[in-house]
Symmetry: C3
Subunit: 138 residues, 3 copies
């Protein structure tokens, strides 16, 4: 059994957006009881992560870490056409995930109690981000 | 054909634990000859990697690299509730994998000769870590 | 429906190689209209990424970033048997992907307009790199 659905998210600048509920809804709709759910983002400047979902400072710290590791406007980068956050956004995407794969058990995403699914926008402006969810199983 | 199984591992402090044999056993049990095997860890402070399986200094060096990149007790981090290794454990998890996906061929995991499947515990204490293995194929 | 195929690529030193067309051909051959495509590389010194496919300076910058983050011949590393690029190649592999998972829609890989599939060779010599593509769906 295969179920596939497109989702679209509006982002309002760099940061993490919890999309666990939207993914959960697609799994419910699919009717799959046991299998896997693939979440795929169709961009090279935004990515997906599984992250601690309780304390928001985890995600603030995560962003602070990335800011230090991949600084905006670093003179190392030649690709600056779209601004100082352009190349760092590509690198942040590559260091994290374009695709998450989550097990489905008893018709639900089988996440750990502290795991949330987050879309991580790496650009500083507003964007529309396309995500495809594919559910496979029985 | 879908086969799903829960595994539980005890970890004894920060380090890498070779779990290739346990994953291989689940694939054998599944009866799937051609397909994919998803290995998923239900935590935000421990992760999964495919790593060189022959020379243990590879994994020592890997840990030394991570210690330098994401130092314990870094003053950058506000999330320190559970100790100096708490936030670094979340970041290490995000920089590596919560989910591995491995091809199955002729009823076995089709890994390269140097590839082993490792659970990477990022906390310094002992833990129980839950892993779900989902095998899909025919 | 499951379709699996082995591919082999020759690499000529460190750098990124666009393999999108070869993956696309396997998907076409599979006959799967809706599903997922798993691309797996059987090595610990070469990896896979989804990266911006238009401006080649993105990939030059990416390599410059990795050179700074994981320098060849770093005195931190004990595993130097195969040369100064040996351990950095393992770390670069672990920081990126050994496996990509891409949705299939209407019989084609459903990538974003700027996303290309690249094999990233991390060693400085020439190699043969084995990749398995597994397509699952209906």
């Amino acid at each position: 059994m295969v179920h596939q659905q497109q989702l679209r998210f509006s982002t309002d600048g760099r940061g993490t957006y919890n999309i666990t509920q939207q993914i959960s809804d697609v799994i419910s709709k699919s009717g799959v009881m046991t299998g896997i759910c693939q979440v795929f983002i169709h961009h090279t400047s935004a990515s997906l992560i599984l992250c601690e979902n309780a304390d928001p400072t985890v995600r603030t710290d995560l962003d602070a870490f990335m800011k230090r590791l991949v600084p905006d406007g670093d003179s190392l980068f030649k690709h600056q056409d779209e601004g100082p956050d352009d190349m760092p956004a590509h690198i942040r995407t590559i260091l994290t995930e374009s695709s998450l794969s989550i097990p489905i058990n008893k018709g639900k995403e089988n996440l750990g109690i502290w795991q949330g699914i987050f879309l991580w926008e790496h650009r500083t402006s507003t964007y529309k981000r396309n995500v495809t969810v594919t559910v496979i199983g029985e």
